[in-house]
């Protein structure tokens, strides 16, 4: 049941959402490049990480493989750790001593 191809209208919607989310990640990358302060860039990278989590879930729906939901969980964990680490690094300077 989980490996059958999705209905055509669902596949169209998922592909449209994938395109939109990828474009939104590119727009958030503008804030990463042009953000005036370092926390601006961190916020932009956090938004990109959350978008990539959504992309992984959409890809799981598109291909019918439930494994990619787990992949999105791992991506969410990595994004959270990266955000917290950078937020501590810009103030204290050293994380691993």
């Amino acid at each position: 049941m989980a490996t059958e191809a999705p209905a055509p209208v669902l596949e169209l919607a998922v592909r449209a959402a994938l395109l939109l989310t990828a474009g939104l990640s590119v727009l958030a990358a503008y804030r990463v490049v042009a953000g005036p302060t370092i926390p601006d860039r961190v916020v932009g990278l956090d938004a990109i990480a959350t978008n990539v989590v959504a992309i992984a879930v959409l890809f799981a729906i598109l291909t019918g493989r439930v494994l990619f939901v787990t992949v999105s969980l791992v991506l969410a964990i990595i994004g959270f750790i990266a955000t917290v680490t950078v937020a501590k690094f810009v103030v204290e300077g050293d994380i691993i001593e």
Binding site: P6, P39, D40, V91
Partner: protein, 116 residues
């Protein structure tokens, strides 16, 4: 008939999630301040990604789709924590607020910019 109903529910959830992600990114691009941008990204992207997770749960059913619910709980725990860490770091770096915004200096609150 049940399969088509599931399909339409999924499409509606994906549309709502894409809408929230779009709103969050527009806020990230348009707001003037790092605190405002954080406010714009953390809440709508959390809601949007949680809605997409919910679509995945509807797609895979209650057996296989259980990691999607775990993902929703994880997002609601971690995204506010990360935003709070970034906000505190930005305050300690001395990034100014908007002109009429003040940091609450309540009695009993630990001094925020102490050296450690």
């Amino acid at each position: 008939m049940a399969a088509t109903l599931t399909t339409w529910i999924e499409i509606a959830l994906i549309a709502v999630g894409a809408f929230f992600l779009t709103v969050g990114t527009i806020g990230l691009l348009r707001f003037p301040n790092v605190y405002n941008r954080m406010h714009a990204t953390s809440k709508p992207t959390t809601l949007g990604t949680a809605t997409v997770f919910l679509a995945g749960f509807v797609h895979f059913g209650p057996g296989d789709g259980l990691p999607a619910l775990v993902g929703i709980a994880f997002l609601f725990l971690t995204v506010p924590t990360g935003a709070h860490m970034i906000a505190r770091s930005a305050k300690r770096m001395g990034i100014p607020f908007e002109s009429n915004v003040t940091w609450p200096e309540l009695p009993g609150t630990p001094e925020d910019d102490e050296d450690d």
